[in-house]
């Protein structure tokens, strides 16, 4: 797609959990329309719903205006998920007051608007998206998100036959690394993820426990441990509350895992 010479309406998606904040943005967009024409394609009240909306949209918006603090899925996580899609929209964040976020954004040259948003600032930010500057990369956004909200993403992306599935982290029972992939197991099914166990372990240090070079398990899902008969495959086995399978535990992790899980 080439940059149009004549001013063409920018298509937008507004994501904010507060109805009045969304309406304020719409009013401002109308105000600046003579100089900077825009078209609001849709609205969503959190990141999760925004992604669901995008999945069904015929055409993706060029810009997403996303609040940072939203229940369910916040703006930073939304941006991180969008970043992994082909042709992601530009994301402009909005926030009322957040020292953590603003400092991090300044450091990482991420676009943000402070609420109450001013028309000129909004227009400047929108104009800037037309320059198609490189977006901050996904890893960086994930890092920022962790800094700002103090814990990891709420969902993990799984791209399956061209569709983006979101796996709620709280439903994951364990992660397992095979030769090439990391899979996440929930009660219902297995998902292939584009993650590494090391990253996951770093992102959720309190939630998941390393059992083996290739296994991370949800602490609360552990039912018990048993020693292996022969130590060929594993030093011992971890039993799960809700699944009949056993997970291998390495000699190195045996004592640590047992202590953490039982203590």
């Amino acid at each position: 797609m080439s940059t149009p010479a004549t001013p063409e309406a920018l298509s937008l998606l507004i994501v904010d959990d507060e109805p009045l904040a969304r309406s304020r943005l719409r009013t401002l967009l109308e105000d600046i329309a003579p100089d900077c024409p825009t078209r609001v394609q849709g609205e969503a009240d959190n990141g999760h719903k925004a992604l669901a909306w995008l999945q069904t949209a015929d055409e993706w918006p060029q810009v997403v205006l996303a609040d940072i603090h939203m229940p369910g899925m916040d703006g930073l996580e939304l941006a991180a998920h969008l970043g992994r899609c082909p042709c992601p929209p530009a994301v402009i964040f909005t926030t009322a007051y957040d020292n953590h976020a603003v400092q991090a954004f300044e450091l990482n040259a991420v676009d943000y608007l402070l609420k109450p948003v001013r028309a000129q600032r909004l227009q400047a930010a929108l104009e800037k998206t037309k320059l198609r500057l490189p977006a901050p990369d996904v890893e960086q956004l994930a890092q920022l998100g962790r800094q700002v909200r103090g814990n990891g993403r709420t969902h993990l992306p799984c791209h399956e036959r061209g569709r983006l599935l979101l796996v709620p982290v709280e439903e994951v029972i364990y992660f397992k690394a095979d030769l090439k992939y990391v899979t996440a197991r929930t009660l219902a099914r297995e998902y292939v993820l584009d993650e590494t166990l090391t990253h996951l372990e770093e992102e959720y240090p309190e939630q998941f426990l390393r059992l083996h070079r290739s296994v991370l398990v949800t602490r609360s899902a552990l039912a018990g441990f048993e020693r292996a008969q022969d130590e060929e495959d594993a030093y011992g086995w971890a039993l799960l509350k809700e699944l009949p399978e056993k997970l291998p535990v390495s000699r190195r992790q045996w004592a640590i895992a047992r202590e953490l899980a039982c203590g």
Binding site: L20, R24, T27, K115, V117, N151
Partner: protein
């Protein structure tokens, strides 16, 4: 000039504080000046006598301050009276030693080592007395400063969100915008008022309602509120801004992180002269470590304030009960004092 930071809560001052060092130097030199006036046979010789004294005094002062600064932490750990005695003994001891050293160098001060030691010890004693009196005079100010600091803890996040809400309302619902601004004004007026005075319960409740009205504009249906305050008299006096921070906590931790609606329940009751305040909110889906800390900080603040107002008589408890987060405060009830004839 407030110098609360010089006060360490111990009767010995902080020997590494610049203000303390300056005060010691000035105080000791003033004493020396006074001593010189007594010593000098004629007024014209006063300054000369002081210079003579100073030659002996200044090295002694610097030596003592150096030792005290170096051993500050050690002294703080001792019992106050013992530490004071040590400091006085140090002054006396070093004075005697210094006198010896000076005589060895051929600079006879013209006095005996005992007299030097005694003078130094008396000087040190007088200075310590001054510091103790000063600490006592500052104590109420320290408390007051803490109260002020603890009080001013409305989240800036709330202010900016509220302003954003009002700007959104102004064009299409000007009346609501007006009301919202009035409520915001009331809230900040309460924030800026003198924190030492107790206020009637009715005012605290009105403030709480105003705060929740503002949040309701912003959060809409997600914020449900139920008040249960009919059974309680409205005139007892309570510390100001006790309810509002708790409600703010409840909104921040119980409503904002949830996608669906949630209810905050406020119940105030009175029994046997004890006022009981209970606030409950739904549990958030997950709590990050930082949020946890924020919550504890707010509760810690209120607990400290309760201790300042009521000492041991008030209680604050919090925890999870029946799937809800519950904060409960018990206060001894104080009715407005009738005017004395």
């Amino acid at each position: 000039m407030l110098s609360i930071r010089q006060n360490t809560g111990h009767s010995l001052p902080d020997w590494r504080n610049l203000g303390v060092l300056l005060r010691v130097l000035l105080g000791a030199n003033l004493l020396a000046l006074g001593a010189a006036l007594i010593q000098a046979p004629r007024l014209s010789l006063w300054l000369e006598a002081f210079v003579e004294n100073a030659a002996w005094l200044e090295p002694l002062l610097f030596l003592n301050l150096g030792i005290l600064a170096a051993s500050r932490d050690l002294l703080q750990r001792c019992a106050p009276r013992f530490a004071q005695t040590l400091a006085i003994a140090l002054a006396g001891g070093t004075a005697a030693l210094l006198w010896d050293a000076l005589r060895f160098l051929g600079l006879d001060g013209g006095t005996s080592p005992h007299r030097a030691a005694l003078l130094a010890a008396i000087g040190a004693g007088l200075l310590l007395l001054y510091f103790e009196l000063r600490a006592q005079a500052l104590a109420p100010r320290v408390e007051e400063a803490r109260l002020q600091a603890l009080n001013a803890r409305i989240r800036p996040h709330f202010l900016f969100n509220a302003l954003n809400t009002v700007t959104a309302l102004i064009r299409h619902q000007p009346r609501q915008a007006e009301t919202a601004l009035e409520e915001l004004a009331e809230l900040f007026r309460a924030l800026l008022q003198d924190p030492r005075e107790l206020v009637p319960l009715s005012r605290e409740i009105a403030l709480g309602r105003q705060y929740l009205d503002l949040e309701k504009l912003r959060l809409g249906e997600r914020l449900q509120v139920s008040w249960n305050v009919e059974q309680v008299p409205m005139d007892p006096l309570v510390p100001p801004l006790m309810l509002q921070p708790l409600l703010e906590n409840a909104v921040h931790h119980g409503i904002e992180p949830c996608t669906g609606p949630g209810e905050i329940r406020i119940q105030v009751s009175m029994a046997d002269g004890t006022l009981n305040l209970r606030i409950s909110n739904p549990l958030p889906p997950t709590t990050s470590a930082r949020e946890e800390r924020g919550n504890h900080m707010a509760l810690g603040n209120i607990r400290q304030r309760l201790a300042l107002y009521y000492d041991m008589e008030a209680r604050l408890e919090h925890g999870i009960r029946d799937g809800l987060y519950l904060v409960s405060i018990e206060l001894p009830c104080r009715h407005p004092q009738p005017l004395k004839p």
